[in-house]
Amino acid sequence: MNFWNDPLHFLAEQLTAMLSRWGLPTAWITFIEFFLGAMALIVFAMALDIGLVWVERKVVARFQDRLGPNRLGPFGLFQPVADIIKMVIKEDITPATADKFLYNLAPVLAAVAVIALWAILPLASTIYGADLNVGLLYVIAAGALGTLAVLIAGWASRNKFALLGAFRMVASLISYEIPMVIVLLVPTLLAGTMSLRGIAEAQRSIWFALLSPLACLIFLISAIAELGRAPFDLHEAESEIVAGYHIEYSGMKFGWFYAAELLHAFTFGGLLAILFFGGYTGFFGLEKLPAFIWLDNPFVQAAVFLAKAMVGYWVIMWVKYSLPRVRIDHLLAFNWKFLTPLALVVLVSTAILHRALMEAPRWQYGMALWLANLVIAWITIEILRVQARRQRRHQRAASQRQQTAQEQTV
């Protein structure tokens, strides 16, 4: 094994050899290696986060037909540095009656919940933190930690708006976990494993987004709701509830919330890429040809994965800056009355077809799954159309009754 094919194991072996030559016991060596690995991952994630601040501001500017930051450095590339300096030197105001320990814990917990996700993201077939065989459940668990962080932030601020915003956010977070968990079972089913690396490897022949586009769409929608981004950001919108649960946070503590949100969005873009768009694979067998053997290199794979994650992040930003906000009761109704039944139907149909066509040739399998998704989407749109027509008829009848009543009284 050399550095180019298996960078992490190569570096680990070199380090082990060096440390054991110095005479350290094995347990210490293992601990130091894991610690350094975790540190490297965290540094990479946070460096990415700084770049994401720039990306976000440029992209939102372009969506709004303006230029964005372009003063600091070429193309405004040093803007995040200025942002961070500003946040660090801001005055750190703590409310007098706030619960000090919890107040300070909440932003840390929010950031930890996001960085914990990077432990299982496979950047390449040999570059990953840990290959848990319950990787998808771990994703849900990290989301649960994020929910807790929101609740603690809202309560510890001793502010009614913060508490109300935290309640709404937690309500929407735990509601949208349901369709997300149901839809996460679809790649599990198609790949036969819950480990993220296994799911990425299983997509070497075909992307799951082609086998199950509805599942991809539902995952995108619930992911955007889990992130608390528009159009589902009623609980932190300035025009609605004055920034919700992080209303009392200033300076670097707010910086942690902000950084965690951006990194969370990028991480979910990465998850979308892994679960439905092939992750670090995606050349559809091209890499087996001798001319293209370099495509199987872990660094190329990592670049492919990061590019796909950036595209996913761009889609999430696109949705954020194009759609108006959804009201809280519409948000919850949309989840319970539309997304969850749809997710269940998609899961059951995929399961039945997967089991029935396990022996069939691959193209039949793929066509059947794709057609099933198309049929479900068509039926859903028909149902929605019938319902909308009925609603319009009711409204017209109600307004006509109102008009006749008014004419009678006049």
Binding site: N133, L137, Y138, A141, A144, L145, T147, V170
Partner: protein, 186 residues
């Protein structure tokens, strides 16, 4: 004292200390947060016991759902004082005595258990715990579907009963939560 023993002692001390804080915290919201600490400590213990699937399930279900439910319930039933008066010692003393007696009885049972000093057997090298657990819970031949032997205990019936129980709890909780609004409207 090996590293594993030290880790176990730290986790156990953390869990027990947080449990004592749960039952003796003056403000209920602090008790709920100490409960989250207990649940995390128990998750660390599951990791020490190499039940990796259950670590994640513990975090998702207990910390992610049950603890959040508790915090919601505490916040929605807060009274103006925000301090719960501690129970009178006429209630605490008998409780303390009973729990002490129970601890004594349980310790006696553990000490009388002949296998109590046993060290853990080696883990089978290719055990896919999630797969085996799924087979045990869902297949009529139990974990045999995973392992290829003839028959293992199967837990399909308790699994289905648990699903029905969860459905009943779902319906019951929704009914209890919406009854008030319906009565107020009618």
């Amino acid at each position: 004292m090996t590293a594993e023993q030290g880790l176990f002692l730290c986790a156990a001390a953390f869990t027990l200390a947080s449990a004592v804080m749960v039952v003796s915290a003056r403000r209920l919201i602090h008790a709920a947060l100490w409960l989250i600490a207990v649940l995390s400590g128990v998750a660390i213990l599951y990791a020490l016991l190499q039940a990796s699937f259950l670590v994640v399930v513990q975090v998702v279900i207990y910390i992610g759902a049950i603890a959040v439910l508790f915090i919601f319930a505490i916040m929605l039933t807060r009274r103006q004082t925000d301090h719960d008066a501690p129970s009178r010692w006429t209630r605490r003393a008998p409780a303390f005595l009973i729990s002490l007696l129970t601890l004594g009885a349980l310790s006696g049972i553990v000490l009388a258990f002949p296998e109590a000093g046993r060290l853990p057997p080696p883990m089978p090298p290719d055990l896919d715990a999630v797969n085996a657990l799924g087979a045990a819970l869902l297949s009529p031949t139990g974990a045999a579907a995973y392992a290829g032997v003839l028959f293992h205990e199967s837990y399909v019936l308790p699994f289905e009963v648990a699903s029905v129980l969860l459905l009943a709890a779902l319906v019951g909780a929704i009914y209890l939560a919406t009854t008030e609004r319906r009565r107020r409207e009618s």
